[in-house]
């Protein structure tokens, strides 16, 4: 109810050039925008879209990893994986709350996810086929997410930036547990090493695609950068990720599945091979291998939780009535 109490979200204001310029000046001065500040409708819309997608991704992201909680090979790994999946649930909550400060309700956001109207990160539409996939997700998917999220801690919208600071702090173990897992497999038996390599082969390109289309094809990028929602372009972040990850693979003697990957002295970074954008767009459009399962699982959890929500409301109502009767 925070948002409804604070925000003037229904107030229509004339978005004159003067207003837009004044707003841009606040952004340029690195002022944070807060829920009850006036803001252009397009800024609000862009944020709701991005924060909601981010929240959905955290929630849906619990599914591929949750798939392996009961089959973790040791108590140590199981505790780590459980802690990670719990974190993702919490991160979904922080992000939904940040979106709600912009006047959208949790119910609307959930509805958009379970009806398939909302998008979430394409990466979670891939299956987790072996235990090594849990290592690959922590190392690569969380590694890519961190690249993306660290600059978001400086996003111009206060509640989003503050949520990201908390998320980044908590996530600092996610990538480490994944890499540690990959390292122990890579240094294990020949079969374990193969398992690690197979996971890397399948997760590398989807991870590289997580940063989204090339800058030239990215529709919202320019405005998002101007409003300092994004601080780096998709390609910049992708390059940073590749530069950081390649030596990590080499260190544990795993091979990145890209024959064109080589160090480029001039740009002090790695050149990489072409990205299969047809696959990316296909997955974004909801045709990923696990797309239907993910939505179905989320909808099932939502539908089957209905009686719990109803019971909680009924219980609260009963307690209220008892309290009034006692007074």
């Amino acid at each position: 109810m925070y948002s409804q109490g604070l925000i003037n979200s229904d107030t229509q204001i004339e978005e004159s050039q003067e207003f837009l310029d004044a707003f841009q000046a606040r952004i340029d001065a690195e002022e944070k925008i807060e829920p009850n500040d006036v803001m252009p409708q397009a800024y609000k819309k862009m944020l709701v879209r991005q924060i909601a997608q981010h929240a959905h991704s955290e929630i849906v992201g619990m599914l591929p990893e949750g798939n392996w909680v009961t089959r973790a090979p040791s108590l140590r790994r199981k505790a780590a994986l459980l802690a990670k999946v719990q974190d993702e649930g919490g991160h979904g909550l922080y992000l939904y709350s940040a979106a709600e400060t912009l006047g959208v309700s949790r119910e609307e956001l959930t509805e958009q996810l379970v009806t398939g109207k909302a998008k979430f990160s394409s990466i979670f539409n891939y299956p987790t086929l072996s235990w090594a996939d849990i290592g690959a997700i922590g190392w690569l998917v969380d590694g890519a997410a961190i690249m993306n999220q660290i600059p978001l801690c400086r996003c111009s919208y206060g509640p989003y930036a503050r949520a990201m600071i908390r998320v980044c702090k908590e996530e600092s173990f996610h990538q480490r547990q994944g890499y540690e897992l990959m390292m122990s497999l890579a240094q294990g038996t020949e079969k374990q090493k193969q398992m690690a390599q197979d996971a890397l082969n399948r997760w590398w390109w989807p991870s590289v695609m997580m940063f989204g289309p090339h800058d030239a094809e990215s529709t919202h990028s320019d405005q998002s950068m101007r409003w300092k929602i994004k601080r780096f372009t998709n390609d910049d972040l992708r390059q940073k990720f590749i530069n950081a990850t390649v030596p990590q693979a080499t260190f544990i003697d795993l091979k990145i599945p890209d024959k064109d990957l080589r160090w480029n002295d001039d740009k002090e970074g790695y050149d990489h091979g072409p990205i299969d954008w047809a696959e990316f767009w296909n997955v974004v459009k909801g045709n990923g291998p696990m797309a239907r399962d993910r939505i179905t699982a989320r909808k099932k959890a939502w539908d089957e939780g209905e009686w719990v929500r109803d019971a909680a409301h009924a219980y609260a109502e009963k307690r209220r009535a008892e309290k009034i009767a006692a007074e």
Partner: protein, 94 residues
């Protein structure tokens, strides 16, 4: 019987970008007077850029006597921290 004046909890955003932080409380008859009083009392030395006031009665707090059972369980979950995982020094910051 003397009519009591409601109590309000005051939260101040110290600087642009930070969240509101609890700074104290005060009595006031309504929310507008509470905001005005908070401004007069708690921001006299430029301590903040924004004020929230919340009726103290609206705050639900955890039971201090249950602090152990509430918070002790997270103490032994060291696997929630990055230092629990062994990453070779050569890898650098991760």
């Amino acid at each position: 019987m003397t009519k009591t004046t409601p109590l309000w909890e005051v939260f101040i955003r110290p600087r642009n970008g930070l969240s509101h932080k609890h700074v104290g409380s005060l009595h006031a008859s309504d929310k507008t007077m509470a905001i005005n009083a908070a401004r007069d009392v708690y921001t006299r030395r430029n301590e903040g850029t924004s004020i929230w006031v919340v009726p103290s009665i609206s705050i639900t707090a955890s039971d201090p006597d249950k602090a152990d059972e509430n918070f002790e369980p997270s103490e032994d979950k060291i696997y929630r921290h990055p230092t629990f995982y062994d990453i070779p020094e050569d890898i650098g910051h991760m």
